[in-house]
Symmetry: C4
Subunit: 174 residues, 4 copies
């Protein structure tokens, strides 16, 4: 509860330069990979996120990143159907990516679920994770969401942002 | 509890012109989309709904609508296997669709799960949503069902209607 | 609790002629159907059931039935991988199937999950259903199992039978 | 709680020769098999395990075994994407496999989920199972984990090992 309030206060303070970075596997998906005998062939994406991403993206910079090179074409197809572009970044590169955004005075809100997301979370202005993220990630994140990966994480982030933009003129139509 | 009673009372009052409109993704499915590297390739439909839809459809007009143009062929295949036809309607068009039915003196019962369903819900005579619909949708709906999307939502609606038709001659065989 | 005891007592009383009939969709699967744009293409079968079916089948007649004509080839593949054969029976035929076994003095234990299984359940000596069966089915069944469809229903039935065969010489190796 | 403590103490006592053996179906997957009309075509692997396996494997011998001959190519693809090799062992052979490792003075930690894993568990130094393993397996295992199959079982084992290596010089970088 306190964590939620603190998250909202920090977000409100930097609404004008807030920038959202979403990890994809385990956040937009439930983290499972479907294999056949040729390798990784499918991923399951969840409800509500496409709608929510468009709503956030109309007012804030929004990035989708993935470290999964083998499944990149699958991921890219989904993210492009949502109207965005997926960026392939190794666990190491994602921290650099966040740091560069921070240096451009963006207030990065990073959403990730796995151990390799922790450095990027630490470099971000704010961090959040799905309800089924790994324990160490939940400890590290500023906010552990109530939605599991692939069940509408982007949509929950949208609700939080919507709450924070209330009464702010610039975001009247958010 | 009170919401359920009120829903049943309102439904009983208009049984003779009740018309059911079901959104498909997130209602007949759990809202997930299966992607491979060619795009959206599969959807998962749930148990009990086909049986229940036939039972409802034998006594009431029943429509299945979807806004998902990319996955329309998948959706249509399932709905036609169930003995119905899916109608492709943008979020905007679905409100118009409901309003036109209402103008024909139909008492539309609309079942949807996402933010873009809210206008259609507001235009309907009654609205319901799956147990895992978005929070704002649950607030808006006259009734939040106890079944999650893709786990038998149509079947739960069938049970409610069955309860409401008890003792009504015309529906003795429902 | 009482229901479990009564189920076990009735099963013990007729162990020598017990015959198991399992519905497949919603029992061996979680009831979901995976569709692509050519129709119903895949089903998800669960853990533990193959192992358990072999153990039951070594001592008791065991039948797997399905009403799903469209997905029959998928179902047959799985059941034959388990070492059995799936029988295609319409909802109506399945009651006849149970009745004929009963006339041959078999004590049919029927496991099903949907409304159309109710007549067959009523004709059987004993009936059970998965924990996520439809409400009316749970009311009708002699026993509502604690396992959901596709999560090891056959395995739970195996445990119950194993408990009932304790101390019975003929089943010492069950 | 007591079980966890005892498991940790036993693991600490033999850290130098600890060897991990993971069953695959029901442990790295949720145990479901996806069938089409040609047979078993797909499996769903979960989040966090690949990352965790690499971390464990950098310090300890780590084996992945499976009894599923029909789905072996699927399984092998996934395990090799994780940087390991799957070994095909019948239920009987897996006990022998564990016993041979034990004879080489390895302290085998065996993680399995099904009835046929019990003999191997009994031969191992320590055994654990996912939270959704069969009841008899949970009774037999030294530790029943809090993670379900396919939801990060290897990752939970990694956390336990990490806890046990704290303060041990050799594992400072674990």
């Amino acid at each position: 509860m306190l964590k939620t309030l603190r998250f909202q206060m920090k977000l409100k303070a930097k609404l004008d330069c807030a920038t959202f970075v979403f990890d994809i596997d385990g956040v937009l998906t439930d983290g499972t990979f479907i294999y056949d005998d040729t390798g990784k062939v499918m991923k399951r994406f969840g409800p509500h996120d496409s709608e929510a991403a468009k709503l956030i993206g109309a007012f804030f910079p929004l990035h989708f990143i993935t470290a999964d090179a083998r499944g990149f074409n699958i991921t890219q197809k989904r993210v492009s159907d949502m109207g965005f572009e997926a960026i392939l970044l190794s666990p190491r590169e994602r921290q650099v990516f966040v740091e560069e955004l921070m240096l451009q005075n963006k207030a990065v809100v990073f959403i990730g679920d796995s151990l390799s997301d922790i450095p990027a979370m630490q470099s971000a202005y704010l961090s959040a994770c799905p309800s089924d993220a790994m324990k160490d990630v939940k400890k590290e994140a500023n906010l552990s969401l109530s939605t599991a990966g692939g069940r509408g994480v982007v949509a929950e982030v949208y609700s939080i942002v919507k709450y924070c933009t209330r009464g702010v003129n610039r975001f009247a139509k958010f």
